[in-house]
Symmetry: C2
Subunit: 291 residues, 2 copies
Amino acid sequence: MTAIDRLVVAGVGLINGSLARALRACDEVGEVVALGRNADRLAAAEAAGVIDRGETDPAAALSGADMVVVGVPLSAVRDVLAQIAPHLPAEAVITDVGSTKASVVADAEHALGGDLRRFVPAHPIAGTEHNGFEAAFPELFRGRRVVITPTEATEAAATARVRGMWEACGAHVIEMSVGHHDRMLAATSHLPHLLAYGLVDTLARWDDSNEVFEYAAGGFRDFTRIASSDPLMWRDICFANRSALLETLAHYRADLEQLTALVRDGDEAGLEAVFRRAKTIRDRHRPVFEQ
Amino acid sequence: MTAIDRLVVAGVGLINGSLARALRACDEVGEVVALGRNADRLAAAEAAGVIDRGETDPAAALSGADMVVVGVPLSAVRDVLAQIAPHLPAEAVITDVGSTKASVVADAEHALGGDLRRFVPAHPIAGTEHNGFEAAFPELFRGRRVVITPTEATEAAATARVRGMWEACGAHVIEMSVGHHDRMLAATSHLPHLLAYGLVDTLARWDDSNEVFEYAAGGFRDFTRIASSDPLMWRDICFANRSALLETLAHYRADLEQLTALVRDGDEAGLEAVFRRAKTIRDRHRPVFEQ
């Protein structure tokens, strides 16, 4: 007997596609059904062997589901949850893969009529620069972290099922509060993306000839790889996690002002101290960075 | 006949060590002599096959030299040039590998008594996170850019010899003015390093538990690899190129203020436009970034 009889993925992007592939690879799922808007995309995902069946009709998709995973852009979560809600089997657990959690919980409260007993907010911290099920592969989550942020109403049994699903994919599952998740990810993911996009844009506008891009080897390259990520997705994330992002941005800008003052004032010892602290702590965590 | 009869490298770090290895690999150098302060390090470089001979005495090192390459920290360039100057053979060309050029030209003017006819400021844009001749390898410069910034006094024949040396190592050599180099590198290398060090330090101080470093996969990792670079070297670079760095920092901070305003004001279209511009231009230059 498999852990999940019928998995419904709403959206067949990189994350849901990789989840489907991973669960099938370890034989932890019976049937994988995808709910989507675009019949051609669903047919292509079926032909690629990512899903068993695609449905554009929520009722047809959700019939018999015992696990539903919402993997759509943050700005679409509320609408998709609202489409799913009327057809959700009584015993089905519902979870998501969004990069921010407070916004998703608010969407779920709205769409599920305040009943969050079987709703388990989750965020697999994994990805590539590539999007779509075409880029999906079963090992994407192996050794990666999946953060689960159960609400006060979420039943322990529902949380346990979502945890088990991700552990079957080889992920390390961690539970924390919604607020803690959103602050942590604002600092380590949302802010770096904003800064990287910002730097590329600043330099592109500063240098009409784009000669700066010829000198990428000097450090710019590492810095800006993430600026190649999906602009719409990251716009959504920034606004979905706006208050935490603004808080971490305020910290960063205040520190950047101090760093600027060190350079301007010729404070060699002060600047060296910052650089040393940063290198020491970064090197201490090197194994994490080189995963 | 080789292009260089006797190469003297002042300092045997990653760059000078790789230069020696590259020139020997293509048979473009007769003898490689290293001038250094630490006899044990020189002996180790000789034992490793990076150089033919090490000298701590400038007169002994420079005798018979026809090419001298200064590869020491920026804060040591002036003193090393002053040690070399009295012993420099009349026909020898002297060049450097420093990351900033106005500071090095000022040092050379001071140390060489204003005679820059045979002085060719240069900057190979190549490196790794590792330092020292132990990390040196002959292919380090292959396909990389070397910027040469001849002064008004520099003789064309001296520039041509330095260009030939780097081309023999497989590098693309580009000439530009000192000021243009320093502005370009401030933007593409010095600023990104400063921002990366700053972000790591900000997050380390913001989060006492250092839990943030467990979430490196979210974008932080790419951003901060360069924060593992040598703090002393980067402190020197920031101050050697202070005015250009402050100029590019001012641009960046003003733009970051606008980016913050877009998030704060909920300007979704505005933020998306910045992200799209950045992705478009970054992807257009993808081949450079993926070198």
